[in-house]
Each structure stands twice: as structure tokens, then as C-alpha cells.
């Protein structure tokens, strides 16, 4: 078979796997998403924001009236795609295509690297693609909603070009390419950047490049990475810190937050019903065909590629978190990153160690491809071919991806379109307390995602892993008005000064008693509701705010006073 034909087969097969993996997304990529958690909603908002005319590092249309810093956006790569596609492709369709085609690109890159740098032969090299792009972390990214992590051909490409660059005949061009792939990893997400940096460390340690005469490839790669890394760190620390609650906002112990974001040993085998109900859909399933072939490596290969073994071990050890847990409890063996707890809240940059498992997926996938290649050279191919089918079954059984997806319509409620077009919207929901941080974030992020349909400014802060401080303050102030009658008269004037034109309430989220009180007080304060809808899967009631004379300065001063009074 010609090389071109092989590539076409590879892409076709990976596309088929991707369609099944994310089913039913392919049936309506612009109309539904398949995530179970809520990270996708803020990404949809980001894509829409980047596709708008005032796209930049500060977005004026959210966190109204002060605007929102985008310095800590989830993914600069996906933001760039949205920016390039403005006017051509909706945020919803772009997100669907990222889920459908991202893993295909990632798998193809892993397959090529396994073939070109580790000697895996087609079709066994397909195992590298399956093992990297369609196993536990891919399912986790898809179901949690941080789907930008699915577009990551950069990590395998970095592995391939860095190995080349650090060989005796390596060239500065290869060093530059390695730096480019590292940069794209960092811009895909901060966690992918950390994983890429660890990969660089492992490859450098194994290359013994310091024994070479020509240091230019290493210097080219190292210098570029340092410059880009410092620029990224500066951007990250420059602003945006207030977007997040401190870690202690959710848990008293930063270590516990990290443990919740780690892989548990049981999930390395397969998913369980508890995974989606209580563990944010985090699954580390490595794939039994990958594990088995990897374990057989010492028996099959004359020389086991130790670089891959170290990559797998490092990724696995880091992903298991500060305390290695069997299944959300038990064992509690201290892991190497326990030391990060000493940093306290500053360790929040590493709240999700599970993302380091991408390294193990990549290493194990390539190792499995190499072992299968050697086996096929010694045993009748007909006996080895089922391995490919088994790996495909692994993708379905161990990750459970096609059984765990949901068909969630993107359709936004029509009520927002009835709000005054030139003024902002503030959404009101109850205080969920510490039990309901997920529900609070879902409600907040859903409102952000709906902005693409109504295009009105919004009080919600849309970036971050907790509800933003500004959004929380406004909600607390409005909710306080229900039981502090002195605030009733202040509400219309204050909202008007801040430029809000409508209050949209989610009455079903309140208890029956508070629902009646909230709607009653808002009616008393702002007049009868001007709209009530139940389409788009939500029951919403809207109150229109009377227009008052104001300016940006007056609005921002009022906002700051409320923030100070209701932190």
C-alpha cells in the first residue's frame, strides 16, 4: 500500500473512531454538545468573545460594568481558531468540530511519531494513536468540557522533534521546531504546557546532549522555550488573579483540592457510575490492550525504549496526585507532589494533576505500537490483527465514552432577546452554599454561553473555576434585598446606574418560600415581570430595569461599593 493511501486509511479510521467515541455529536455538531459537566459553557463564551468585534485581552461585554480580563483564558489556540473563524463559523459548531476532529489530528501525530521515531510499522502504529488520543484523558476532556485539550498533536510532535534535535546529527531547525510544538502545547492549555515541560525534561535527561559537540539545536530550543515561557508567565501573573476564588474558597486544605483533581487507581482500569456522578467524569483509563502490550515489552523487545517507560512512569506518578488513592479513599500513599501543598494557595496552578496522564497515554500508546510491530514480525499476522480490534473495543469499554455522553441542546432561551438591546443583563440565582459550588458554576457558565445568542453585556464573570467575585457580590446584594426591605428602593436606581436593563431570575432554583419572596420583592421594586419563558430547557422570569441617567464612571463606582459591601 502506498504511503499516501496508508495516511488516508489512518485518517479515515481515526475519524470513524472519533465519531463513535463522541456519539451522538456527529449527528448534530452545531446543535448539541455531549459533555456531562460545565466547562464547555465558558469555552463557548470565550469562542464567541474572540469572534466578536472587540476581541482582545480585556472583554467589555462580560463582568459588566468593569469588563473581564482574558489573560488567563483556557486556551489561546482555540481562541485563535475562534478569532480566525469569526463570521464564518459559530462557537457551537467550532466546539463540535474540535471534539470530532481534534482527537483525529492528535492520534495521527502520535501514529506518525511512533512510526518515524520508534520503528512501529503500519497498521500497528495505529495503536499509538488510539492509546494517546482516545483513552482516559480524552474521554475526561470531552465529558468535563475542556475540549481544547483534545486538539493536541503538538505533544507527540514535540517528542519526535526533540529526540531528533538532541541526536548527534540534530540541527537548529529541528530544535526550533521542538520549541514551536512546546509553545503550541503551552498555548493549548497551561496544563498541557506543564506536561510538555516535563516531557522536555525526560527527553533531555535521556539524550545526554551535553556529550555532543554541537550545542546549537539545544540552545535554539532552550532559548525559544525560555522566552515564550517567561512571556506566558508574565501575562498570567499580570492580571486575572481576582477572577478566581482562592483555593480555600472550596476546601480548607489545598491538598484536598489537588487530591480531588487527581486520578484514582480504580479509574485507570475503567469508568464507574460514580465517576460521572461524583468525580467530575475524571477517568484515567489507560486501555487494557495498551497496558498488556506495555507489560510484555521486556519479553518481546531486545531493548525496551527506556525513554518511553520513564515517560509513562512520570506521567502516571504525577497524575495520581499528592496522595495515591484507590477509589476516592483508602491507601493514601504520599506521592511526589505532596510538597506542593507547602505552597498553600499558590499551588492552585496545579489543582488538576490528572492532566499529566496525557504523558502516560502517549508513552504507553507508542510502546504498545512498537511491541505489536515486533510481535507481528514473529507470529502469523492473522493472530496479531485482532489486537487492533481489541484496542478499538478498549476505547469503548474502558473509557465508556459513547455510553457516557449526553445530547445537550445548545438552544438558548428566547427571553434574553426581549431584554433592552443596548443595556446589560444581570442574572439572579440563589446562594448554593458549599454543597452547590458545581451548580453555581453551571448556572453562571450557562448564562455566559447564552450570550452568543443575545449579544447583550452580562454581569457574569465567565473565566475561572469558581463563580467570580463580581458576579457573586451582585447576586448577594440582590438576594439580600429580599430580606432587607431598606434595599428595595435602592435596587432600580443602582441597577440603572450600572447600565443594567434587565434582571433575569431562575425561580425554580429557589426553595418555594424564597421563590415567592424573590419574585414578590422584585415586582415591588421593578414592576411586574416583563417576560416569562420555558424554552431552551430553562424557566426564566425577566424584570425590566427603568433607564436612568448615568455614566461609565458612576456605574463602576456603584459596582465597587456593592462589591465592598457584599464580598
Amino acid at each position: 500500500m502506498s504511503t499516501r493511501r496508508q495516511h488516508l486509511w489512518t485518517l479515515g479510521l481515526f475519524t470513524l473512531v472519533s465519531v463513535v467515541f463522541s456519539w451522538p455529536l456527529a449527528s448534530n455538531p452545531a446543535g448539541i454538545h455531549v459533555s456531562r459537566q460545565f466547562d464547555l459553557y465558558s469555552l463557548l463564551w470565550l469562542m464567541d468573545a474572540m469572534g466578536s468585534s472587540d476581541a482582545g485581552l480585556t472583554y467589555s461585554q462580560s463582568s459588566w460594568p468593569v469588563g473581564e480580563s482574558l489573560n488567563r483564558m483556557d486556551s489561546f489556540v482555540v481562541a485563535a481558531l475562534a478569532f480566525l473563524g469569526q463570521g464564518l463559523i459559530s462557537a457551537q459548531l467550532l466546539a463540535g468540530l474540535v471534539v470530532l476532529l481534534g482527537p483525529v489530528a492528535s492520534a495521527f501525530a502520535a501514529e506518525r511519531v511512533a512510526a518515524q521515531h520508534f520503528g512501529a510499522r503500519w497498521p500497528w502504529s495505529l495503536l499509538a494513536g488510539l492509546g494517546y488520543a482516545f483513552t482516559g484523558m480524552a474521554a475526561t476532556s470531552m465529558l468535563e468540557g475542556h475540549v481544547y485539550a483534545l486538539v493536541n498533536p503538538w505533544l507527540p510532535l514535540l517528542l519526535g522533534h526533540l529526540i531528533q534535535a538532541l541526536q548527534t546529527d540534530g540541527t537548529p531547525k529541528q530544535g526550533g521546531l521542538a520549541a514551536l510544538w512546546w509553545t503550541l502545547c503551552l498555548l493549548t492549555s497551561a496544563y498541557t504546557g506543564i506536561a510538555a515541560t516535563i516531557l522536555v525534561g525526560v527527553v533531555v535527561a535521556y539524550s545526554r546532549f551535553w556529550t555532543r559537540e554541537d550545542w546549537r539545536p539545544a540552545i535554539t530550543a532552550g532559548t525559544t522555550m525560555m522566552v515564550v515561557g517567561l512571556a506566558y508567565a508574565a501575562l498570567f501573573t499580570m492580571s486575572g488573579a481576582t477572577v478566581r476564588d482562592p483555593t480555600q474558597g472550596m476546601e480548607s486544605d489545598p491538598l484536598k483540592v489537588m487530591m480531588a483533581g487527581s486520578i484514582h487507581l480504580d479509574s485507570l482500569a475503567a469508568w464507574t457510575g460514580i465517576t460521572d456522578a461524583h468525580r467530575h467524569s475524571v477517568t484515567g483509563a489507560l486501555g487494557f490492550s495498551m497496558i498488556t502490550l506495555g507489560l510484555m515489552a521486556p519479553l518481546v523487545l531486545h531493548r525496551v525504549p527506556r525513554l518511553l517507560v520513564v515517560l509513562v512512569a512520570t506521567g502516571l506518578l504525577l497524575a495520581l496526585g499528592p496522595r495515591i488513592q484507590l477509589s476516592g479513599g483508602g491507601l493514601n500513599i504520599p506521592g511526589p507532589i505532596t510538597v506542593l501543598a507547602l505552597l498553600g494557595d499558590k499551588a492552585s496552578f496545579f489543582n488538576f494533576p490528572s492532566r499529566m496522564l496525557w504523558l502516560a497515554h502517549l508513552g504507553l500508546g507508542i510502546l504498545a505500537a512498537v511491541v505489536a510491530t515486533r510481535l507481528s514480525e514473529r507470529v502469523d499476522k492473522r493472530w496479531c490483527l485482532p489486537l487492533l480490534g481489541m484496542a478499538a473495543v478498549d476505547v469503548m469499554i474502558c473509557t465508556g465514552a459513547p455510553f457516557r455522553t449526553q445530547a445537550v441542546p445548545h438552544q438558548a432561551p428566547s427571553i434574553y432577546a426581549q431584554a433592552p438591546a443596548d443595556r446589560a443583563i444581570v442574572e439572579l440565582w440563589p446562594e448554593f452554599g458549599s454543597f452547590g459550588t458545581d451548580l453555581a458554576l453551571l448556572t453562571n457558565n450557562l448564562g455566559c454561553a447564552h450570550q452568543s445568542s443575545h449579544q447583550r453585556p452580562l454581569a457574569n464573570q465567565c473565566l475561572g473555576t469558581t463563580v467570580g467575585a463580581g458576579t457573586r457580590s451582585l447576586g448577594r446584594w440582590l438576594n439580600a434585598a429580599v430580606y432587607q426591605r431598606s434595599l428595595i428602593n435602592e435596587v432600580p436606581q443602582a441597577l440603572g446606574e450600572m447600565g443594567f436593563g434587565a434582571v433575569v431570575v431562575r425561580p425554580d432554583l429557589y426553595t418555594e418560600q424564597d421563590r415567592t419572596a424573590v419574585l414578590g420583592i422584585l415586582t415591588q421594586s421593578l414592576g411586574k415581570p416583563t417576560a416569562e419563558t420555558t424554552d431552551g430547557g430553562e424557566h426564566l422570569v425577566m424584570f425590566t430595569v427603568p433607564e436612568v441617567e448615568t455614566s461609565a464612571l458612576i456605574g463602576q463606582q456603584r459596582y465597587q461599593r456593592i462589591q465592598a459591601a457584599y464580598p
Binding site: R378, P409, P507
Partner: protein, 179 residues
């Protein structure tokens, strides 16, 4: 038409057929409660607020609800209607003396437009009973076992793979004269 073309045509046909099948009208929400402690309650009601309207769903364990196995300790109820992303829920247990206990209240996410299963388990507390949310799947009355079913299946599959690859390795070493 070459092989790639055939795959693409098949894929398109599969997507088209499945898409039309998926264009369901109403969202189905199944409510399921595991009540191992028989006799505590004679009836279970779930009060659901969905899109601003309140409904009471009487749960049954007599096989009268789709997917219900009669008298297995799993009480079922079903409601269908327009798509709702969340529902507010209160569950009441009715005692034989006519009194009722509030066993659970909360907001449940029901984002899948096709079918949603919301499950609880009733547990005895020091002075009464309470219901806790639990992942469930049909059919059965031991919730935790079925929640772990994919894991158990996974290990079985893993063992099969280990044996198969072990056999291949054995064959390869035989062909090489156990070098």
C-alpha cells in the same frame, strides 16, 4: 469507488439514519429509588418542579412502570415533557399510619435531551430515614454493584487481553526457538 469512499458513504448514511432516530420529541426523566429496608414506607412520592410547573410522581414497585421489575425493592416513576436542564425535587415517604417524611430535597441536573435517570437510595439514620443520590442502572437492587459494573467488565476484558497477548508472546518465543 475506493475503500475510503465506501467508508465515508457508510459513515454519512449511519449519521443520517441515527440523527433522524435521535430527533426525539419529549425528554424522558426516570426516577428510581432503592429501598432495601422493606416496610419503612408504603408509598413514595417525588414532587418535581420542571420548567415552573409542579408535578407529583408516585413511584411504584409493581412492574407497572417501564423497566420496573416487580417487588425487587427498586421503586420507579417516569415523567415526560419539554426539555428541562434542571429539575427541583422533593421526595416524601408515606408511612402506613398516614404520616409522611421528607426524605430528600435538591436540584438535579437533567441536561440530556433524550433520557435522564435520577436515582436515590433510602438509608436508615439514627432516628429515621433519609434518601441519598446514587448512580444506578437497570435492572437491580444493589446499587453499588451496578455502578461498578463497567469496572468489573473492564477487569474481565483485561484478563482476556492478558491471556491473548501472553499467547502471542509465547508463540513468538517458540518461533524464535526460545532465544
Amino acid at each position: 469507488m475506493n475503500a475510503i469512499g465506501r467508508i465515508l458513504v457508510l459513515l454519512t448514511a449511519l449519521i443520517a439514519v441515527s440523527s433522524s432516530a435521535l430527533a426525539a420529541d419529549d425528554q424522558v426523566i426516570d426516577l428510581q429509588v432503592s429501598m432495601p429496608s422493606r416496610g419503612a414506607y408504603v408509598a413514595l412520592d417525588v414532587e418535581v418542579t420542571r420548567l415552573g410547573s409542579r408535578h407529583t410522581v408516585r413511584l411504584r414497585d409493581d412492574g407497572g412502570v417501564p423497566n420496573d421489575l416487580p417487588h425487587d425493592g427498586i421503586w420507579n416513576g417516569r415523567m415526560t415533557g419539554d426539555y428541562s436542564r434542571t429539575i427541583s425535587v422533593r421526595m416524601f415517604g408515606h408511612r402506613s399510619d398516614g404520616t409522611q417524611d421528607l426524605l430528600y430535597s435538591g436540584i438535579e441536573r437533567t441536561e440530556d435531551a433524550r433520557h435522564v435517570l435520577v436515582g436515590w437510595r433510602i438509608m436508615a439514620t439514627g432516628d429515621g430515614h433519609t434518601a441519598v443520590r446514587t448512580p444506578l442502572s437497570y435492572p437491580g437492587n444493589v446499587a453499588e454493584m451496578f455502578a461498578a459494573l463497567p469496572l468489573i467488565t473492564g477487569f474481565g476484558w483485561g484478563l482476556f487481553l492478558l491471556l491473548y497477548v501472553g499467547m502471542l508472546v509465547r508463540l513468538s518465543r517458540k518461533d524464535q526457538g526460545e532465544e
